[in-house]
């Protein structure tokens, strides 16, 4: 199912749309997993709402990662895997970003655990997280050029 209207009963979607009708750009329910496309500028507030709402209570951030859809645009998808420990449920949030200077707001103020995850995405994909307390490379050496997990970066590296 990929229709937002069909899935609007889902607590995460109904709660987010009650807050701001345009914040959920799309939704997909595939292989028992729920994915929501979130408007880029609203990601931090959307996360805070999903964390604090008693119906949703997605209190745990499992993971942040990114997918590069080079050469199509919008090129990057930043992906958040949220877990609700009390409800034992997961939801996936996605934010689409354009290829030229991709940036979005950091969610470290919502979940401090996003710190290393976002640094890793910054390091390997070159996506900037505004408001991150310490946005430095984490896996690659400080003076490394390029972002290895981008699709236009060769598997063997540059030689």
């Amino acid at each position: 199912m990929t229709d937002l209207e069909q899935l609007k009963e889902h607590p995460a979607i109904s709660r987010l749309r009650a807050w701001n009708p345009t914040v959920v750009e799309g939704a997909k329910f595939d292989r028992e997993e729920m994915s929501l496309y979130i408007e880029r500028s609203a990601i931090r507030e959307a996360c805070a709402i999903l964390r604090d709402d008693p119906q949703c209570s997605f209190n745990y951030l499992s993971d942040v990662t990114c997918v590069d859809w080079y050469p199509s645009e919008p090129r990057f998808e930043v992906i958040y895997h949220l877990l609700s420990i009390p409800q034992k449920e997961r939801v996936r949030l996605k934010v689409r970003l354009n290829g030229d200077s991709p940036a979005l707001e950091s969610v470290t103020s919502v979940w401090p655990s996003a710190n290393y995850f976002e640094r890793e995405v910054f390091d390997l994909f070159g996506v900037r997280f505004n408001g991150h307390p310490y946005l430095r490379r984490i896996q690659m050496p400080e003076n490394w050029e390029g972002h290895p997990l981008r699709k236009d970066y060769p598997v063997e590296g540059y030689r």
Binding site: S62, V67, H81, S113, F117, Q139, V155
Partner: protein
């Protein structure tokens, strides 16, 4: 000329101390930058990436089945758990049904892996704190488990035993008897470790009240596994979001509320006992039947069929040379590894190679707790804290 003091210890300022990346207590190549005031830690910053090998990037250039040996090498102390998490994710993408015998085997081997991993943790953790004997005992039992792995997969550590659609081979004839002999023997060995540590006053002084973390902090900082349960959060993926047939097994999830090094120690030691219980249940209830799913386009045919049937030979040739195409989509599969929530996020674009493989590392998240645990405490407690979150740098750096 008057002698100058060698160090300006009297002055009010802090010192930067570098611990690692080649420090024996950092379990691999973790570098920790400590800002210290005398013996007290003012600030602590882990520096990682020394073991980064670009496994996620390499996966994108391999067929789905070829990724399995790479997953062994992500967390080299629990290869089977990595194998399981990866194959479950691919099977979810493919929509494959796995026969019960393969599921039971997977659960049994996963619990043996958990024991194996916890034994390495217990031995090295105790050695870091100064109890050298435990290490030798733990590695004695670990050797038994590694021999079981060798019997079933041909490899002691990098097992790669699980396949997309099942497991690689029937286990050898005497395998289950050997596992049962181990399962009968092992609980008394756990008593031995506990005799050495649990009531030991030195152990208690080094671990009780040290590196304390509250439940709120643990959840906010992304802790999982025994590190989370040691702080009183009762959450275990095996019980709460079961996978691979775990819903058929009865076990207790050990939880401790103190949130200190000792609480995490207790959780893991209790898990050793629970795991051996699951292994016994798996042995008792081991179903009969095939060990591979009925999916000729994905699962390699038996050797005998290949020699006698043309179709099987064709499928074999095609799977080896072209891999198998996986329908478009994305999945996130999480399993309870010995260290916490291990997750594989796989994106498929419909071809025979994964478009993106991302590993959610439990250790990477757990490592973020280190500053909260150590700041304001003694340097010696840093060693205890690092040991208590049971990090594996292969998994952190990938």
């Amino acid at each position: 000329m008057t002698a100058m003091p060698a160090l300006d210890a009297g002055q009010d300022r802090t010192m930067i101390l570098n611990m690692g990346p080649q420090h024996p207590s950092t379990h691999g190549v973790l570098r920790v930058i400590l800002e210290i005031d005398g013996e007290n830690v003012v600030r602590i910053m882990p520096d990682i990436g020394y073991l980064h090998t670009g496994i996620e990037k390499t996966c994108e250039a391999k067929f789905y089945q070829q990724v399995v040996p790479l997953t062994d090498r992500i967390d080299y102390l629990c290869p089977m758990t990595n194998n399981l998490c990866y194959v479950l994710a691919v099977e979810k993408l493919l929509g494959l049904d796995i026969p019960p015998k393969a599921q039971w085997l997977r659960v049994m081997l996963n619990e043996l892996t958990r024991i194996n991993s916890h034994l390495v943790w217990l031995g090295t953790h105790a050695m870091d704190i100064g109890a050298l004997t435990v290490f030798l005992y733990c590695f004695r039992e670990r050797e038994d488990i590694l021999r079981l792995f060798e019997a079933v997969s041909g490899q002691r550590m990098m097992t790669s035993y699980f396949r997309v659609g099942g497991v690689a081979l029937e286990p050898p004839l005497d395998f289950f008897d050997r596992v049962r002999a181990f399962a009968d023997r092992f609980p008394s060995k756990v008593d031995e470790y506990e005799n050495l540590l649990t009531g030991n006053p030195i152990w208690a002084m080094r671990t009780k009240g040290v590196a304390r973390i509250t439940a709120e902090d643990a959840v906010a900082l992304g802790a999982s596994g025994p590190t989370l349960r040691g702080s009183g959060v009762d959450f275990d993926l095996r019980r709460d979001m079961p996978y691979s047939g775990y819903e058929n097994f009865k076990f207790r999830v050990p939880v401790a509320t103190e949130g200190d090094v000792f609480a995490r120690y207790q959780c893991r030691v209790q898990e050793l006992r629970e795991s051996i219980g699951i292994v016994k249940q798996a042995l008792d209830g081991m179903p009969q039947g095939p060990i591979k799913a009925d999916a000729p386009k994905v699962v390699l045919p038996d050797r005998e069929k290949m020699k006698t049937q043309m179709e099987a030979l064709i499928y074999h040739f095609k799977i080896i040379t072209e891999g198998f195409a996986v329908p478009e989509g994305e999945v996130y599969q999480a399993v309870e590894s010995p260290r916490g929530e291990m997750g594989y996020y796989i994106v498929s674009d419909g071809t025979a190679k994964p478009y993106r493989v991302h590993v959610r590392s439990a250790c990477l998240a757990n490592l973020q707790l280190l500053p909260k645990m150590c700041e304001g405490r003694l340097i010696a407690d840093v060693v205890a804290a690092i040991g208590s979150i049971d990090i594996v740098l292969g998994e952190i750096d990938r």
